[in-house]
């Protein structure tokens, strides 16, 4: 049956369809985080859990005229630039005849990933008449006339307000002074990804599959695929000992169910600790049919499929009822940042060990007090430095004025960042703060740090910690609550959401993933969990 539940408690949690509003992580399932079986399933297919699919449309103007008797017949090709500098084609437009200002219709799909720098190279070719009957993908680029090239980074396109970027085309390799025209790239998110539907399911008269108590039912929802099978898209949490259960609302994105007419397979299982869950019943309904069920306030009967004992299906008395059905628009991370939301970086540098330069907490200032949060630029009131150069200048001057002193304490730095974030909230300003801590030591005040993190967990703040050097950072991983255990402060308060991402540099050094990428991966989902829980919409949206 394809069970992949590793532990009982983990196996009982809702996966894939948990509602992220209302505090992001509340209500029993720590699995509104990214670690779950369905997520791995998609990752194995090459789809990253929080990837943002976008479509690029291209148009050009004032292209060079290469043909003698008529205008050029342009086609555009998009490449990504790999780390080794090689170009890899990701798509091409159609050929437009006889135009120096083409607007291509064919869109090209690109996946926007926040945490990496994605270089794109655009090339425009004039397709020779003799190839005009060939399908575009069979054209050999070397045989065509090169009209111009431009390059940019995906984030440049998506962070613009109109999500549109105009580039000057130049000759291959070097930006020459010859005017070869311009290329405009526009990015759009496929509309589908914003539509979501939130459904609360209830069942009645489920059959009892357990011997001594009642069944422990949960639902698994799958999408049918063309090849005839089905792909699970979510499962609800388990309700123990109940034949008339009602589950927490399940939120499905259009990415998951593809279209409202696409039939979904809904199966109801009885949970067993052994992992061998028994099927109570199943049925097939599309999202549109579920909407109808809700509106007509009726239920649909489950079916028990044919088995060894029975050659045909049996319609059961058990029913599924749609208690709540709500369609919602979910703004994406791109909606927020392109509307003008600011992400602000703050950096804290470790001063406690001379061996790792450039990495100001734990320093003794000229007045002989040890500070665990001092301004790197030496000013008593201003803590800002301008840009990377400013950082380096401040660090250099601080080296002259500050003596080294242990231990490694984070609490005060985090409190300071939290104060700044809290202050911005009162002014209704669309800002989100990111504190970057670079340290080579294990934190000495773990409980203090946890307390500070918990206090900051309901604020527009994310904390990224990079561990450099050879220390054993096992303790630090507690701060990064990826295993689902919410942080608890010494006063009994529990973190509202997971705001820490910890990456030991040593771990990623050998691999393909850069430190920056590993650090930034969780950022969009942390940002979204904050804005959605507070019902903050992108700027200028009604």
């Amino acid at each position: 049956m394809g069970n992949c539940f590793s532990d009982v408690k983990g196996g009982q949690q809702a996966i894939g369809g948990s509602v992220r509003a209302g505090g992001g992580g509340h209500g029993g399932s720590a699995a509104s985080g990214p670690n779950d079986a369905v997520d791995y399933f998609f990752r194995a297919k090459g789809e990253h859990a929080l990837f943002m699919p976008i479509e690029l449309s291209l148009s050009a103007s004032k292209l060079r005229d290469r043909d003698i008797t008529s205008k050029s017949d342009p086609m555009a090709v998009i490449f990504t630039k790999r780390r080794n500098g090689k170009l890899e084609e990701i798509g091409r437009t159609e050929v437009i005849m006889n135009s120096l200002d083409p607007s291509w219709i064919q869109k090209i799909n690109v996946t926007y990933q926040f945490e990496i720098v994605q270089h794109l190279v655009f090339q425009v070719y004039d397709v020779d008449t003799k190839y005009h009957n060939l399908p575009v993908k069979m054209l050999n680029l070397e045989d065509q006339d090169f009209l111009g090239e431009a390059s940019c980074v995906v984030s440049e396109i998506v962070t613009k307000r109109e999500r549109s970027l105009t580039l000057n085309l130049h000759s291959r390799g070097r930006p020459g002074f010859k005017h070869l025209g311009t290329l405009t790239v526009r990015a759009e998110e496929p509309v589908a990804s914003r539509n979501t539907v939130e459904i609360t399911f209830r069942c009645s008269a489920l059959e009892n599959k357990d011997l001594l108590s009642k069944s422990d039912p949960f639902l698994r929802i799958s999408r049918t695929v063309e090849t005839g099978g089905s792909v699970p898209i979510c499962k609800t949490e388990v309700v123990n000992n109940n034949l008339n259960p009602i589950w927490k609302p399940v939120q499905l994105t259009m990415q998951q169910f593809v279209s409202k007419e696409n039939p979904l397979v809904i199966e109801c299982f009885d949970f067993n600790d052994s992992g061998n869950h028994q099927l109570i019943g199943k049925l097939q309904k599309s999202v549109a049919e579920l909407e109808t069920l809700y509106q007509s306030k009726s239920g649909a009967k489950f079916i028990s499929p044919s088995s060894g004992f029975r050659r045909h299906e049996k319609v059961l008395k058990s029913q599924i009822i749609v208690e709540v059905y709500v369609e919602k628009q979910l703004y994406s991370f791109l909606d927020y940042i392109s509307s003008g939301f600011e992400l602000n970086f703050m950096v804290a540098v470790d001063f406690t060990d001379r061996c790792f330069p450039a990495w100001g907490f734990g320093g003794r200032t000229p007045d002989c007090s040890v500070s665990h949060c001092f301004n790197l630029n030496g000013s008593p009131s201003e803590f800002e430095v301008e840009g990377v150069d400013g950082m380096m200048a401040a660090y250099t001057s601080a080296l002259h004025n500050v003596a080294l002193a242990g231990p490694t304490l984070f609490g005060q730095v985090i409190n300071k960042a939290a104060d700044i974030a809290r202050g911005s909230v009162s002014c209704n300003y669309a800002k989100y703060y990111i504190l970057l801590i670079i340290t080579d030591g294990v934190v000495t005040d773990l409980q203090e740090t946890m307390d500070s993190v918990v206090r900051a967990s309901d604020l527009p703040l994310s904390i990224l910690i990079v561990g450099v050097g050879n220390a054993n950072f096992k303790e630090m991983e507690i701060l990064d609550a990826d295993n689902g255990r919410r942080l608890e402060s010494s006063t009994g308060r529990i973190a509202t959401r997971d705001i820490v991402q910890f990456v030991p540099m040593r771990e990623v050094h050998g691999g393909e993933i850069s430190v920056v990428r590993a650090l930034l991966e969780e950022l969009p989902s942390q940002f979204l969990s904050y804005v959605r829980s507070k019902d903050i919409k992108p700027l200028n949206m009604s």
Binding site: G22, G23, G27, P380, F383, I420, V425, C427, D458, K534
Partner: protein, 164 residues
């Protein structure tokens, strides 16, 4: 002008991992009582189905007398109190947080013996009276620090202060 109390809106969202005497699963009929002082308390309805993971999503409106420093949250199952948590008022009010700001908070519940018994999730909003002057309506990104109360009765003006 100082008011004797303000009004808070508490939405009791849900609770997690409740047990009875640390062993038995909670059968149902759990509800939450919120007390701002011994005289002011409100309770949610019961959740018959939720068992150890009940959800109420119920909004309670109560008075918060100005001298109160903690509000108490009690989880009841039937007639027993199975867990309590103490919420410092400073976690959702005062300081830099504006009025009408929705705070999402979660707390550890402990039973009569002091043992851990789950978590309660709620959101709190202090209802605005409109008295706080420009802090809530300024559109420039500066941090308002409340000045001393005796400067001008009732109106709080944010004055940028050197931060360290």
């Amino acid at each position: 002008m100082s008011k004797s109390s303000s009004v808070i809106e508490i939405t009791v969202i849900s609770a997690e991992n409740l047990t009875i005497n640390r062993r038995h699963r909670v059968k149902g009929n759990t509800f939450i009582v919120v007390k701002s002082d011994p005289l002011n308390s409100q309770s949610t309805g019961t959740d018959p189905e939720g068992g150890s993971y009940p959800a109420w999503n119920e909004k309670l409106i109560m008075e918060l007398p100005v001298h109160v420093r903690f509000i108490t949250v009690e989880a009841h199952s039937g007639s027993k109190v199975i867990g309590t948590a103490s919420i410092p008022v400073s976690d959702f009010a005062g300081g830099h947080l504006p009025e009408n700001y929705l705070s999402f908070l979660s707390y550890r519940l402990r039973d009569g013996n002091g043992d851990k018994n789950g978590i309660v999730n709620l959101s709190v909003k202090v209802k605005g009276t409109g008295n706080s002057g420009c802090a809530a309506s300024c559109s420039r990104p500066w941090m308002g620090v409340p000045a001393d109360n005796k400067v001008s009765g009732g109106m709080v003006m944010g004055i940028p202060v050197p931060y360290m």
